[in-house]
């Protein structure tokens, strides 16, 4: 079988953009310079909410505005900080009430791809649908929507921005603007991307880690594998977008400890303990890890996959089967990747190539209020 390094050529061919046609409102301008890597594949922007310059700018402002919360202290960016890949560095996020949430903040990166269901358990079906949740949640931003509408209407800047972008202020418009801004959060210039584009080569250790990440093991043909690609797709490193393939049980808890996870949404027992497979883009800066932030370091994550898997009825068979052992040495009931210390280190080295400094510092994604303050000071 031929090796497929055509990929570099294709990447260089530039970003292909797929919009589900939809005419933006007259006063708005379609987002012109929005290009994305070809290898990320198809994506869909809802017809009712095309990406416009005005919508994205408004969304960015809302995202960073603490006035969206009841006590005017918490913004989306409190728990989704750019420098931390839009996470908050906490085991469990803390919002308006001071009561820690049951979940670890999720990175907001490349949300146009991967599972088009949001939250760890997939309970939200679109970014528009998701956006109004944290605003109203008592432990997150604890804001009454009517009160928020009144507050926004008193602000002349917001009034003008909403008028141009959406023809007025409404909860729907708030949701659409936040969704639009978040769709533009595309990370595509990590060292891994540069490697895919043929611009750099990885170090031998990173390359070893990449190979392990990208392979399901098969001892029969002497192929070692770390198995990661079985759930984290090769280019996006997120879960798969087809149906519910982007959710799975990666062995964090045993049968008795399984949380409902996706089964709370689908009602299927087979989905107990299934959570959204997150993108690993910028993973080196988004600790702690997993839905409950139980691991502080990538070393702990690798130890988990290598030798800490807990068995249960919904555990992925791919994890159980991936033992890097010939059949005659396989021990039933023993789950391990049987990686060496060097192999674990190599996978971690590869994970570090997913850090995209441009993304973490891109002024387009930063706090617009600080930018304005800077302009005023000048």
């Amino acid at each position: 079988m031929s090796k497929k390094f055509v990929i570099a050529a294709l990447l260089l061919a530039g970003g292909a953009v797929y919009f589900l046609a939809g005419m933006p409102r007259k006063a708005t301008t379609p987002l012109a310079d929005f290009t994305v890597p070809f290898v990320y594949g198809h994506f869909q922007v809802p017809k009712e909410n095309p990406l416009t310059k005005e919508g994205v700018a408004l969304g960015r402002r809302l995202f960073y505005d603490p006035r969206l919360s009841g006590n005017n202290e918490i913004s989306c960016a409190t728990c989704h900080q750019q420098a931390l890949g839009f996470t908050d560095g906490l085991k469990a996020s803390v919002g308006a009430s001071g009561v820690p949430l049951s979940f670890n903040s999720m990175a907001l990166t490349n949300l146009l791809w991967g599972p088009q269901r949001f939250f760890w358990d997939g309970r939200s079906v679109s970014l528009e649908d998701q956006a109004l949740n944290p605003i109203q949640h008592p432990d997150e931003m604890a804001q009454d929507l009517d009160a928020l509408m009144d507050e926004l209407a008193e602000d002349e800047t917001y009034k003008a921005l909403f008028d141009t972008a959406y023809g007025g202020i409404s909860p729907e418009a708030v949701a659409m603007a936040l969704a639009s801004f978040q769709r533009t959060l595309v990370s595509a210039n990590s060292r891994y991307d540069q490697y895919l584009r043929g611009e750099i080569s990885l170090t031998p250790e990173e390359e070893k880690g990449r190979k392990l990440f990208m392979a399901h093991p098969d001892a029969k043909v002497a192929q070692k594998g770390g198995n990661c690609i079985d759930c984290h797709s090769q280019f996006l490193t997120s879960g798969f977008s087809t149906a519910l393939d982007g959710f799975s049980n990666n062995g964090l808890d045993g049968e008795d400890g399984l949380l409902p996870g996706l089964s709370a949404v689908t009602g299927k027992a087979a989905h107990r303990g299934f959570f959204k497979t997150p993108s690993l883009r910028n993973i080196a800066v988004t600790a702690p890890y997993m839905h409950d932030g139980r691991f502080d370091t990538l070393e702990e994550v690798l130890d988990h996959y290598d030798s800490g898997i807990k068995d249960s009825s919904t555990l992925s068979p791919l994890i159980v089967e991936a033992d890097n052992q010939p059949l005659d040495r396989r021990q039933r009931g023993q789950i391990s990747l049987n990686l060496t210390a060097d192999e674990k280190k190599a996978i971690i080295a590869f994970l570090h190539t997913l850090t995209d400094e441009d993304f973490l510092t891109d002024p387009r994604f930063s706090n617009p209020f600080e930018e304005e303050a800077g302009d005023d000071a000048r």
């Binding site: 029969k220 043909v221 977008s241 393939d245 087979a270 068979p317 089967e321 059949l327 039933r332 009931g333």
Partner: protein, 241 residues
């Protein structure tokens, strides 16, 4: 001829033409190809340890089953039809008891055979082009140096010694299997023509003699093992009336 007679003649002629036209106008409707998954002739039930290990002890369950079908083409007295960008991922975990491929509105009676390939043809398998259901970020991608899994079967087996995970990820270029089947409408509704097929998963484990899932619980990169499963491809899909 008087004007009245002429008018009458023209009217009769037009009516006759209209009648002939209506009679001959073929039933041009979208065609729905429906695939029903079976195990040994019985409808597939997912996540249930109900199936007998074909070549050994124990019961097995199917947790996930999906496969690629490529390059659908119809032939017959009415000509040839080639479906563009024809790469289809068939999976059986939806709400309906079948999975469907929809073809554009055509007269189904113009065709008597359907052709496709099980798997992904070597040319498409050798690129990371995103066409049809091919997507290098989906679950069927091995990785870009290898191409796509043609068939994904994941499940588990239970015997006296306990649980054994089953992973059959099968498909290399040489396993791509063109197939031709008779093509005939199973049913017509006002809106579409329905053509039915069955997909018997058991065919994969019987072609080369019954497979003992305990001694071969997984097939991945070993070419001989892959060929052994792929030997069942020609018997997997059948036309059903």
């Amino acid at each position: 001829m008087t004007r009245a007679k002429t008018l009458l003649a023209v009217t009769i002629l037009s009516a006759a033409l209209l009648w002939v036209f209506l009679e001959m106008k073929p039933a041009v409707k979208p065609i729905s190809l429906r695939f029903h998954a079976l195990v040994d002739g019985e409808p597939l039930v997912l996540d249930d340890m109900r199936y007998q290990n074909p070549g050994g002890d124990g019961q097995f369950k199917v947790r996930d089953f999906q496969f690629y079908l490529s390059n659908i083409r119809l032939t017959g007295p009415g000509g040839d039809y080639v479906l563009p960008d024809s790469y289809h991922l068939l999976r059986f975990d939806g709400d309906q008891p079948y999975t469907e491929i929809r073809l554009p509105a055509m007269d189904a009676s113009a065709f008597d055979a359907i052709h496709w390939g099980i798997g992904v043809d070597p040319e498409a398998n050798g690129t990371i082009k995103i066409t049809g259901d091919l997507d290098p970020n989906n679950r069927m991608a091995w990785n870009w140096q290898v191409g796509y899994k043609f068939i994904l079967f994941e499940g588990g087996l239970e015997d006296s010694e306990g649980f054994l995970p089953l992973v059959y990820h099968v498909g290399f270029d040489e396993n791509y299997t063109p197939q031709s089947l008779p093509f005939a409408a199973a049913a017509e509704s006002g809106e579409e023509t329905i053509v039915r097929f069955t997909v018997d998963i058991a065919a994969l484990f019987r072609a080369d003699g019954p497979l003992d899932m305990v001694t071969t619980p997984s097939v991945k990169f070993d070419r001989d093992d892959a060929a052994r499963i792929a030997a069942g491809f020609p018997n997997m899909i059948s036309a059903s009336q």
